[in-house]
Symmetry: C2
Amino acid sequence: MTTRTGPPAGYDPSQFPAFAVTVDIVILTMIDGELQVLLIRRGEDPFKGMWAIPGGFKRPTETLDEAAQRELVEETGVDAARLLTQFGAYGDPDRDPRMNVVTVGYLAVLRDVGAVVAGSDAADASLVPVSDVLNEKIDVAFDHLQIVREAVDRARVELEVSGIATAFVGTTFTLAELRAVYEAIWGVQLDAANFRRSIVAADGWVIPTGRRSQPGVTGGRPAELYRAGRAWRQGGPIHARSTKRREEPGR
Amino acid sequence: MTTRTGPPAGYDPSQFPAFAVTVDIVILTMIDGELQVLLIRRGEDPFKGMWAIPGGFKRPTETLDEAAQRELVEETGVDAARLLTQFGAYGDPDRDPRMNVVTVGYLAVLRDVGAVVAGSDAADASLVPVSDVLNEKIDVAFDHLQIVREAVDRARVELEVSGIATAFVGTTFTLAELRAVYEAIWGVQLDAANFRRSIVAADGWVIPTGRRSQPGVTGGRPAELYRAGRAWRQGGPIHARSTKRREEPGR
DNA sequence: CAAGTTCCAGTCGCACTGACCCTAACCATG
DNA sequence: CATGGTTAGGGTCAGTGCGACTGGAACTTG
């Protein structure tokens, strides 16, 4: 607790109300240029059978960050998320019908969750497109729709001010892969040539490896493979001032 | 609480640990071009006699936002903060020596706290320069140094993406007052003419009232008074890509 | 070899902005 | 009233960052 100038009427600070504290993790990854979120199916009431974000109780002996890290390992088996950032706390009185629960939301970005989901209880965990959740095509338990929405908002900001973009791709990647991350999260269409210029012009963003990627099934010139540089900590190289939204084709 | 795939070994989910949940409010205002934070002096142990951020317990019947709003009223008597934004949660096990406490940090911006502090227990509340807290010239209780630091970081970001700037000034203001907000929070020196151009060029940021301010004690042409427009919700007009840091004179 | 696809390099032009200058409108002093 | 100091407001100029576009390079398949 903190300081108060005086107890409000009818309220005794020594009898503080007890809450359960949990951490919920919005795990994002990119599959075929589409942003996906890891959901698990609830096995217990309330909301039994519904999709939900993984999460669990915070223990008294650990910090919130440690709780998030531990839950991520327990749910996915991955102990090295490329990004694990707290983005919000949620404490509406009726958000859990059983008791008073305050939850802290964390955003995690993984680059390959395929093996991860198999490692967990495969029947209960699944990657679904984020758009399906936001469009309510897939209903999620509790206030998890709001939590996912705010997590994606946070990802959009992080993309601009930090090096989160490289967290979605492998240790080596093509500029097209990196560009797809920006296009998927911001929902914009970026010119490939201009994107390249912004990234390659200044030193420190990407480091050419000299190797080339496998050409795609449709042919085309093979792309140079890059590694991430060290400049990603002080603000991203690409800015979202592009006013041109991507017109979604009716795929 | 949320969903878990299975209880971890040696841990029974039905016996969840109990936490106290509080909200702490970093109240910022601007006095003579310097960013100030409202601190109160603790009257009880632990940290008795030290400065701290105002805050208090969340009640089971209210949301976190409502708790922050209520605490703001109780501490300052002001129920109309121009901005009240959650920016982080803090739950280190040893952050409070008495019990397990998770606190949620809120950032509030007031335009005139002078009368506000008097309304509260004047001997115990005071506005101090944020720089004194960040430089540890003034020690604060608990982990409140970290909380203030992250609140100011958040204010810097909000300044760029939202209309927080107008929250520091009155309903009518001069462009010099508005510019001082940016300069104080970002720690930069902005060219007055270029600032004017950026604000006035596009419609919707500021609306001229036709009236003029009182000239300052040193003379000078009186400035036009403006009202805030409606464009502040979709990203601020000024961006922090200025590389020129302000060299602090040895005042 | 031809056609299609993707990557990469370069050019053009606009818009934004940092730096700077000048005038307008006020005050203080003599 | 004259002069100098101070701040507001309007303008110019040059650099630069970026969107739009073009064309060549390096692959594929048929």
